[in-house]
Symmetry: none
Subunit: 139 residues, 2 copies
DNA sequence: TCGGCGGGGGATAATTTAATCCCCGGGGGA
DNA sequence: TCCCCCGGGGATTAAATTATCCCCCGCCGA
């Protein structure tokens, strides 16, 4: 595990939560496990864009942070299952909300995230954003 | 703005949301702005652990992602105010939930994130922190 | 005997994010 | 005049996170 040089600001709940969820695949891992995908190989299949190396690392961190637990069944063949701890379960409303929010605003977010990768904001793009935001504001 | 080399996985709402909230101070910025702290200098005072440089950068990203808007009042003296867009407001339940969750589980999370004072890692950790603090000039 | 699957991890490079340093301009008070 | 506040940002370095590569073991079926 990486050893921090700069201490985290812990005085605020936001930073604590951020520390737990901070990992490219951690929200997805929690989501998958909550859905009942428990075995490492199944998790890897559910998240094909991530290498199993990274998934193992992030699962280990989630375990160290007490939100998932790992059970090794010493049968043959060996079986491993991850599951949410109660603490992890209490995190699911947030994960679900993040998932819904992203999906709900997908068209806008995709445009806006892509635009940063190409060039600075053009006037037209800004107009398009304002238009969309207006629409969202009505809801 | 930084130009990505590795494209983000956009097919999932979780990643979209993560992209918007991904920044050490972004949740805090949103929280502060939602609380009515709108002027840059006030925001900086509210988040003393962050340099204004970083805050400006992350505010700019939040703006580009359409969750905050920046208004410049061309008065004298010059006045600048940030505010949440409707899209940003729709994010607040998540921010609040993250804040509450972190606060609610603070005792446990602090222990677990610190990795326990009684572990063997502590020596290295402490060394790393001391190194940093020394560099910064804190006693 | 060989290949493949399931679970795992060390070592290192690359990428991404944050911190640091130090500058700009204008204005207002002493 | 000097100094400090305000809002801002370029350039660079450090830190933190991911990706990549390639290895380990045990077992099972062909």
């Amino acid at each position: 595990m990486y050893i921090r040089k700069i201490p985290l600001p812990l005085h605020c709940g936001l930073h604590l939560t951020r520390e737990v969820l901070n990992g490219k695949w951690k929200p997805n891992l929690l989501f998958a496990i909550a859905e009942g995908i428990k075995r490492p190989s199944d998790i890897q299949k559910a998240l094909p864009d991530a290498t199993k190396r990274v998934l193992n690392l992030q699962l280990k961190e989630l375990e160290e942070h007490g939100v998932v637990s790992k059970k090794v069944y010493h049968e043959l063949p060996l079986r491993v299952e991850y599951s949410l701890t109660p603490l992890g379960e209490s995190l699911m409303p947030i994960i679900d909300a993040m998932n819904c929010w992203g999906d709900a605003h997908r068209p806008f977010l995709e445009r806006v995230i892509m635009q940063g990768e190409s060039e600075s904001v053009t006037a037209e793009r800004k107009a398009a954003c304002v238009y969309y935001l207006d629409k969202v504001g009505v809801e």
